[in-house]
């Protein structure tokens, strides 16, 4: 999973390499390597930050039970994406039952990454603001491509869309990010919403 997609948008650059896991990973490995990805996918589906931990927990419970069905020849992130999407859909439909289970029982989680610098947190909040402003289709493609580093074919598999659609959505999202970034530079410094 070392490849990224911040190369120019060319078909060769995108689809040439594909990452294939040779053997089924352990639950621990999946958790350690993909927890952040699952969390961010949940956020991209509109799950609030304070519920994304719950979603991640449910996703990895499903992973725990279904890992033996995972085919190593397939894309693990794409598989995780499918599970996360289903968990989010499930929660949308049954949110009254499970809503705020952890937060009702336990004190609010400690502030995230207190060790992160103010600048870093500010930049992350800007990015969240940008993502929130994208429509879901582009947001998901952008997240998977430029943040999670999936290949175009993995994204096409995860979202079940044609490769051409992946490219066009990504191109549009990148353009919007560039515009957003320019607006950021132009406007006076302000404190963004902290998530």
């Amino acid at each position: 999973m070392s490849k990224t997609l911040d190369t120019p948008l060319t078909s060769a650059g995108f689809a040439a390499e594909s990452v294939v896991e040779c053997s089924a990973p352990s639950l621990r490995e999946v958790f350690a390597r993909h927890l952040g990805t699952v969390w961010r996918i949940a956020r991209a589906f509109g799950v609030p930050a304070d519920e994304a931990d719950d979603v991640a927990q449910e996703v990895f419970l499903v992973v725990h039970r279904r890992l033996h069905t995972f085919q190593p020849s397939r894309s693990l992130p794409a598989w995780l994406f499918g599970i996360t999407r289903n968990v989010v859909l499930m929660r949308r439909r049954a949110h009254t039952r499970r809503e705020r289970r952890l937060s009702a029982v336990e004190p609010p989680p400690p502030p995230r990454e207190p060790e992160a610098s103010l600048e870093l947190r500010q930049a992350a909040a800007f990015m969240q603001e940008f993502l929130d402003g994208l429509d879901e289709d582009k947001r998901l493609v952008f997240l998977l491509a430029d943040i999670e580093g999936l290949t175009a074919s993995e994204i096409a598999e995860a979202l079940e869309i044609p490769l051409g659609t992946v490219f066009s959505r990504l191109r549009a999202a990148r353009l919007k990010l560039e515009q957003f970034s320019q607006r950021l530079r132009a406007r006076p410094v302000r404190r963004p919403h902290d998530r």
């Binding site: 911040d6 952040g36 931990d53 725990h64 499930m90 992160a116 800007f126 943040i147 044609p162």
Partner: protein
């Protein structure tokens, strides 16, 4: 990063670093996951492998005893493996020919019995409880009617019963707390079948899903998959009509674009959502 926190690359890097569970939350998540793993780990060892080997051993012992008592011909063919009618025909063939062929047939029957016993007692498969270790595995790789391997043993007259069994099993395996996850898992199976190029199997699983979770919360997802499976199965007419029904019912669905693209002939517009 500190110089220009507003560049695209810096924003992405910062987001990736910060947008994730906190270290404390991560530890808590792993702790609960590890607890679930520990709680679940004894179950598979206890349940799934226990019956089949014991049945195989019992069958082998019975055969061995019958063989040694020279009863193998009668016992095996008359009571265990062969149909009663075959036995009657065999008896009617006359004592001479029976004496001549008794040893051969009993040997063949013993071979048959041995293979069936060591193959995990195929008769047991008719009671599809076998399933796997995990309670969420609501869709064991049970052969469906189209599957060539078990088409023989499964008679046509048993199909409705087995279908009912499958539905009941789906409902039974799932306890209350896991119901939603099980519903989801069954859809995952259908999606996997679709991706594996088996739209008929996917449709079959989706039918089971509809029967097992008629009042479930994932009807939208199921119907979206169904449209895709119908189109992939070479039934674009039904696929298109179900796609239209889906889009009417769920006009703002996440799957709307995918459903609209499922049957390309009927839906020429490629992707209405790719607005620059």
């Amino acid at each position: 990063m500190t110089d220009e926190p507003t560049s695209s690359r810096a924003l992405i890097a910062a987001y990736k670093a910060c947008a994730r569970p906190s270290a404390a939350a991560e530890a808590q998540l792993w702790a609960s996951l590890a607890a679930a793993e520990r709680a679940a780990s004894p179950r598979p060892r206890r349940r799934s492998p226990s019956l089949a080997p014991w049945l195989a051993v019992a069958a082998a012992l019975l055969l061995l005893a019958a063989w040694q008592l020279d009863l193998a011909g009668n016992f095996v063919s008359g009571h265990v493996l062969k149909d009663m009618r075959e036995q009657a025909e065999y008896d009617a063939a006359g004592p001479g020919s029976r004496a001549a062929t008794a040893r051969d047939e009993s040997a063949g029957a013993a071979d048959d019995a041995a293979t069936s016993a060591t193959a995990g007692a195929p008769g047991q498969v008719l009671h599809p409880s076998p399933t796997g270790p995990r309670p969420l595995v609501v869709v064991p790789p049970r052969p469906r009617p189209a599957a060539p391997k078990t088409a023989g043993p499964r008679r046509g007259s048993q199909a409705p019963a087995s279908e009912r069994e499958a539905v009941e099993e789906d409902a039974a395996v799932v306890d209350d707390g896991d119901r939603m996850l099980a519903e989801m898992a069954l859809l995952q199976e259908a999606r996997a079948a679709l991706r594996a190029g088996q739209p008929a199997a996917a449709l079959d699983l989706l039918d089971r899903h509809a029967a097992s979770f008629a009042g479930g919360g994932l009807a939208e997802e199921r119907q979206a998959l169904r449209v895709q499976a119908l189109c992939a199965a070479g039934d674009p007419a039904r696929g298109a009509s179900e796609a239209a029904a889906f889009l009417r019912a769920y006009p703002r669905s996440t799957y709307a674009a995918r459903v609209a693209d499922a049957c390309p002939k009927e839906h020429a517009q490629k992707d209405t959502s790719k607005i620059p």
